[in-house]
């Protein structure tokens, strides 16, 4: 595949014509073949087995640790006075942030008619779902007695009590719950026609049955497509404000509190920019090896990767701006506590974390200003891995530095994680990759029908409006527009 690839220069930048969204020598059949071929191979590549084995082991470790936590209590974590929000909340915010890229690519880029999204949206949506699964895990086990986690929901009960709807923590339950549900519906809804492709090609009995059930009997009817497209458009329009709201609500967990360093109106936009930043970095982290491993270079071209790198550069600058603006606001507020907290962040006992964050999120992505660098797979991988690390540290810095340096010096402290904290963070990556590798193996990893819709052949026999069609009396005649 890579040999054929080198002969096609679909990366050329000719401003006089629109660059093709996928490699121009592809037919409809090739798209189906390439994407379905991934799921139909009797055996996945060896690298898949290695990665799956490691991820599964880490997932096992995560759930053993959760069992230990449930039996013993939350004391197994490093959370203690004054830092009651330690790794679990940091991990939660980190994973929710990652989960933003998927819906952003699917919904916002869809509304803006950014058709290049079609090659990567399925992939990114899947990543969203799995990131939200990892995110949902942490607040769930953070409540301590997890068998009472249902108290989070307004369920009529014998105590005749209701949750407090004016608390940001409850807003969080609704925001993340809605986001997970809508993302799942959006992902599955887009996948129905592609599951039908897999169904129609399936050879094995179980594959036929399962793809058959999940494709719901899709027939490709034009009347169905009509409602389907309308529903998809509206789902995108609904998901767009939703994706912006989720991390805003997550930021309220901090911003509505009165702690210096948290109580700030900049937090919602700053969190959303950071979420998109980290999400795109994670998409590229996954996409870069996956497209090579499964031979998708013609559908997910270097141009796609480059576009995402540009988004990473732009959102990285926004995040850098927010870091600078926080200092300005702290100074401008005239509040000694605010000023102290920010100086302490940069030069206090957590300065190491702060400078890891700034280096990874602001300095390193600057490499993407150079075209050569943002097309070099090794450089890209280097940058996005550091962005992933940097964004985790951002949440760590926000949560921990403020909690350990609040208004009362008597309650100052230093947070140290336990090995369970670190094991659960690593284990959550195991869970994420396990789910993702299963997705790569069994589901259509590129939106087949959408890619076909943006190929030149889909419009090649375009006849303009429907009046013209009416006049085209000769059957089978084709006019090129």
């Amino acid at each position: 595949m890579s040999n054929e690839l080198s002969s096609v220069d679909f990366l050329a930048d000719d401003p006089t014509q629109r660059a093709p969204l996928v490699s121009p020598d592809l037919e409809f059949k090739d798209v189906t073949e390439t994407v379905c071929g991934v799921a139909e191979k009797p055996r996945p590549p060896k690298a898949w087995y290695v990665a799956f084995g490691i991820s599964l082991a880490l997932t096992g470790m995560l759930f053993s640790m959760i069992a230990y936590l449930v039996i013993t209590g939350v004391g197994v974590w490093g959370n203690n006075s004054p830092a009651f929000w330690g790794f679990p909340i940091v991990n939660f915010v980190f994973w929710v942030g990652i989960g933003h890229a998927g819906t952003l690519i699917s919904a916002i880029l869809f509304l803006f008619r950014q058709k290049w999204r079609t090659s990567i949206n399925r992939f990114a949506e899947a990543m969203t779902i799995f990131a939200v699964v990892c995110a949902g895990l942490f607040p769930g086990i953070h409540v301590g007695r997890i068998w009472f986690a249902y108290w989070l929901f307004p369920i009529p009960n014998q105590m005749e009590m209701w949750p407090n709807f004016r608390s940001p923590l409850l807003w969080d339950v609704f925001a993340v719950g809605t986001y997970a549900t809508v993302s799942l519906l959006f992902w599955y809804f887009g996948m129905i026609p592609d599951l039908a492709s897999l169904r129609d090609r399936a050879k094995g009995k179980i594959a036929k049955l399962l793809y058959g059930i999940f494709s719901l009997g899709w027939s490709g009817s034009a009347r169905h497509w009509h409602r389907y497209e309308r529903a998809y458009l509206i789902l995108a329009a609904l998901a767009t404000p939703l994706v912006l709201s989720v991390h805003s609500v997550v930021s309220f967990d901090f911003a509505v509190a009165q702690l210096p360093g948290w109580h700030s109106t900049i937090l919602p936009p700053y969190f959303v920019a950071g979420a998109i930043f980290s999400g795109f970095a994670m998409v590229v982290t996954l996409m870069l090896p996956a497209r090579l491993l499964f031979g998708l270079e013609k559908i997910v071209t270097m141009r796609h990767i480059e576009n995402m790198n540009k988004v990473i550069l732009a959102t990285g600058m926004m995040v850098g701006y927010a870091y600078a603006m926080e200092f300005f606001i702290a100074w401008y507020s005239g509040s000694p506590s605010e000023r102290f907290v920010f100086i302490n962040r940069a030069f206090g006992n957590y300065a190491w974390a702060y400078w890891i964050m700034v280096s990874c999120n602001v300095f390193i992505p600057q490499l993407f200003w150079f075209k050569k660098l943002r097309r070099n797979p090794w450089v890209i991988m280097f940058v996005v891995l550091f962005v992933n690390v940097g964004m985790w540290f951002e949440r760590f810095v926000i949560a921990v530095t403020s909690l350990t340096r609040d208004f009362t010096p008597a309650s100052w402290g230093y947070f140290s994680p336990t090995w369970i904290d670190i094991g659960m963070l690593v284990g959550s990556f195991g869970l994420f990759f396990t789910l993702f590798l299963l997705f790569l193996r069994f589901l259509p990893i590129v939106a087949i029908s959408e890619v076909k819709g943006v190929m030149p052949q889909a419009h090649g026999h375009q006849d303009g409006g429907h009046g013209e069609v009416k006049e085209a009396a000769e059957a089978g005649a084709s006019t090129n527009s």
Binding site: P154, N164, A196, R199, R201, A222, H226, A231, D463
Partner: protein
């Protein structure tokens, strides 16, 4: 499923369900669609691997009502969220937080927003599926082998046999004029549908099993039982709480009640006025009051006595309070009757000893030190003395000048 339909041995002998024509690409499909539409067919459809741009006007498909369904669902979500928050936090279980209004708009907006989006998304997803008649695992058109290409690169038009204008020969020749890749009849090979029967059987069994817990819950709501409520999580029933006079498994010395920590002293141990605070003078019970007696003090003492002491000792101090009467009626075995405060035994007690009984308790009487202030305790002591004098007094206690008034 269509695969099983294809394997059906009946195959061609099954009843004809319609005619299927394949076209070469989206352009040809649209042109053909216009002709079929103009020929007046109603039960027909185009099939393609992706939504073909401009096919709706070519087919004469009217815009779907789906957006209105979604709008309706969105407004429902908004209403539910508003009503839920208003009723739960404002009416049913009023949540007072820093004196803020029970229902104010800003704090309730996030959940209104989320539920509006959530229900709209349900409307879009389920609305589109229901309007499209999905899931429906079997359609007669699936029995065509060629039709499998529809999810790959096939563009088809199918006219159903149920169409009022249906005439197999006429339709076939109409299609042939349009230059299709193929024209064929498709058959209804599996009118029963495609999902294996076992699915329905298992589904029904699971559904019925799922009703059992609900039925049990419903039954227990409408019946009474003398056994205690069933606790799923018993962790608050068994608490490692230390009880007085029990052995402790936690402390190495086995004592539940902890001795005073070395180098510390209790507040009362730093006492600079033992007469007032403890009722002792030189380690012995005080026989005098630490303050001057007054009518005000006696009235205060009566008020405190009636509040704290009278329930057991009775208003006259003879130990016949309501609690004492009730306890002796019930014949409680562990009940120690309250003392008769006007008994000569107590009359002879130094005031310091009565003060100490109030402060630290005596026998079954609990200590009232934490509830009654120091001055009030002395006021009660003074009032007890007054009760004793008024009930045990003799004519000698009355000043000679006033004795005449008694007669």
């Amino acid at each position: 499923m269509q695969a099983s339909a294809n394997a059906d041995p009946k195959g061609e002998s099954a009843p004809v369900a319609g005619i299927l024509a394949e076209f070469d690409g989206p352009g040809a499909l649209k042109k053909a669609a216009v002709q079929i539409r103009d020929a007046g067919f109603t039960r027909w459809d185009c099939y393609s691997p992706f939504p073909v741009h401009g096919i709706d006007p070519a087919m004469g498909v009217r815009p779907t009502i789906l957006p209105w369904i979604i709008l309706g669902m969105g407004l429902t979500g908004l209403t539910i969220a508003t009503a839920l928050q208003w009723w739960t936090n404002g009416v049913d279980y009023p949540f007072l937080i820093s004196g803020k209004p029970l229902f104010g708009l800003p704090a309730n907006i996030p959940i209104m927003f989320e539920l509006t989006i959530l229900l709209s998304a349900f409307g879009a997803f389920f609305g589109a599926l229901i309007l499209n008649d999905l899931p429906k695992f079997y359609r007669p058109i699936f029995s065509s082998k060629r039709f499998k290409k529809v999810t790959d690169n096939g563009f088809f038009i199918g006219i159903e046999a149920s169409d009022p204008h249906y005439d197999s020969k006429k339709i076939q020749s109409l299609f042939r004029q349009m230059g299709p890749l193929s024209v064929e009849e498709f058959h209804d090979t599996d009118p029963q549908g495609a999902l294996p029967k076992a699915f329905f059987r298992v589904g029904i069994i699971l559904f019925l099993l799922g009703l059992i817990p609900l039925a049990l819950a419903l039954k227990s709501r409408h019946s009474t039982s003398s056994s205690p409520r069933w606790h799923f999580w018993r962790d608050m029933d068994f608490q490692p709480v230390a009880k007085a006079q029990r052995a402790s498994a936690f402390f190495p010395d086995g004592r539940v009640i902890r001795p005073q920590v070395e180098g510390t002293f209790a507040r009362e141990q730093a006492d600079d006025n033992p007469h007032l605070n403890q009722g002792r003078v030189n380690g012995k019970f005080a026989t005098t009051f630490p303050m001057k007696l007054s009518m005000e003090m006696l009235e205060r003492g009566k008020d405190r006595f009636d509040t704290y002491c009278a329930p057991c000792h009775g208003k006259d101090g003879r130990g016949q309070g309501l609690v004492a009467k009730r306890a002796s009626t019930l014949g409680e075995g562990t009940w120690v009757p309250p003392s008769n405060l006007v008994d000569p035994r107590i009359e002879k007690m130094p005031v310091g000893e009565i003060y100490q009984a109030i402060r630290y308790g005596v026998r079954n009487m609990p200590k009232y030190g934490p509830q009654i202030k120091v001055e009030d305790r002395w006021a009660i002591v003074a009032y007890i003395r007054a009760l004793q004098r008024s009930q045990n007094g003799t004519i000698k206690d009355v000043p000679e000048a006033d004795r005449g008034k008694l007669k």
